[in-house]
């Protein structure tokens, strides 16, 4: 599993969802979070963070700049090519999953989700990072 001190960037336009994700992450054992309400603000937070961000957990469907926009922007930078990126969405049709995989997503969580599901996704993302 990722080190408990890993800084996690949580991106969602809904404040309650950010609270929900942070609450779940705290239960898993993490404590260092930064939050953003859309893809553009998340990019700013990512590139300006003094402590390097170790994981991004982002909503897909946001106004202005979506989670996919952010994912593509992140993967376009070589320094972030292996940065674990988990997309959270209330929808999960096959075309959407394919689009996310092609763009380089590390994991995919369908809302509603439990703490155990988030933990499993993070463990899986950690294994992928070690294998990269």
């Amino acid at each position: 599993m990722f080190d408990a001190n890993t800084r996690i960037l949580v991106v969602d336009d809904m404040m309650t969802m950010r609270k929900l994700v942070v609450k779940a992450l705290r239960e898993i054992g993490f404590s260092d979070f930064i939050e953003a309400s859309d893809g553009a603000k998340a990019w700013e937070a990512l590139t300006n963070s003094e402590v390097p961000v170790g994981i991004i957990i982002s909503d897909w469907n946001m106004p202005n700049s979506t989670g996919m926009d952010l994912l593509r922007r992140v993967r376009a930078e070589s320094r972030y090519k292996d940065l674990p990126f988990i997309l959270v969405t209330a929808e999960s049709d096959a075309a959407q999953v394919t689009e996310a995989v092609k763009a380089g997503v590390t994991g995919y969580i369908v809302k509603p989700f439990t703490v155990d599901t988030l933990r499993e996704k993070l463990e899986s993302a950690h294994k992928r990072k070690l294998a990269a």
Partner: protein, 279 residues
């Protein structure tokens, strides 16, 4: 090859009970018969092929697709009534659920969208995924068991509980458009959101109000996934929230608004679904 054909007047359908070990040729013969029936009986909207607990051989997908495509082009629908989940999965994995609609019950047969008469009724196949979505989302995200009550069509005399906050989302597909809302009293919303975030809240702050939209977003996502597997082709949407004492959501449609009432730990709330066909 022997099969049984039954007219289902309520569903405007003909049901064919198919034997196990059906060949492609057998299915083609049944298809020809079904197409002839549809030609003679213009009111029929669905052909249901009932395979019960039998499996469906992969080679049968081709004649099924041909039949489903022909029916769809005539504004009709082909349904496969199958007990086995593997049959449903195979059809969906092949991307054929738009022309061969897998169902487990005749209650799931949705009315054809271009039929104003049937679309104005309470369509169980359409609303059930929303009811399931409410139950699933509240159980997983709020650790709450909730019970649905009987759906009804909204009227001026409907006795709806006063709401203080509502999530609203537009629903749109190539065939229809409309809106969906979920309406809570302050106490019910605070119960749900407190359970969801694991802390007690005594008032709806600006920070918390988007929770109504997020709950609806999750419910909509659950229902959309199921309905799109049946060929509804519902688009993505972003919810909004309205808040105020005694808030009501006015859905605009000649076909009426369906109200889905629920209870969770003694607190009531309700969902409203309103759709109308596109011209």
């Amino acid at each position: 090859m022997a099969y049984t054909k039954t007219a289902l007047k309520e569903q405007l359908a003909y049901k064919y009970e198919l034997p196990d070990g059906l060949s492609s040729e057998d299915l083609t013969a049944i298809s020809d018969e079904a197409l002839a029936v549809m030609k003679d009986d213009k009111d029929v909207k669905h052909i249901v092929l009932d395979i019960g607990s039998n499996t469906l051989e992969f080679k049968l997908l081709r004649p099924l697709t041909l039949l489903g495509t022909q029916l769809k082009s005539d504004g009709k629908k082909l349904c496969i009534l199958a007990d086995r989940r593997s049959v449903h999965n195979m059809i969906m994995a092949e991307g054929l659920s738009g022309v061969i609609v897998p169902i487990v019950s005749l209650n799931e047969i949705a009315p054809v969208q271009n039929d104003k008469k049937t679309a104005s009724k309470i369509d169980v196949g359409f609303i059930n995924p929303f009811i399931e979505g409410v139950i699933h989302v509240l159980k997983v995200q709020c650790n709450l068991e909730c019970q649905p009550a009987k759906p009804f069509l909204k009227s001026e005399n409907s006795d709806l509980q006063s709401a203080d906050i509502a999530g609203v989302i537009g629903i749109s597909s190539p065939h229809f458009r409309g809106s969906i809302s979920i309406c809570f009293s302050e106490s019910t919303f605070l119960l749900l959101i407190s359970r969801m975030l694991g802390e007690e809240f005594s008032e709806i702050s600006d920070e918390l109000e988007d929770g109504a939209g997020e709950l609806l977003n999750m419910i909509f996502g659950h229902a959309k996934r199921i309905l799109n597997e049946k060929g509804y082709a519902i688009d993505k949407a972003i919810p909004t929230v309205v808040r105020g004492k005694g808030v009501t959501v006015n859905h605009i449609s000649e076909q009426g608004t369906i109200v889905l009432p629920f209870k969770a730990e003694g607190s009531g709330f309700y969902m409203e679904i309103c759709t109308e066909q596109r011209n």
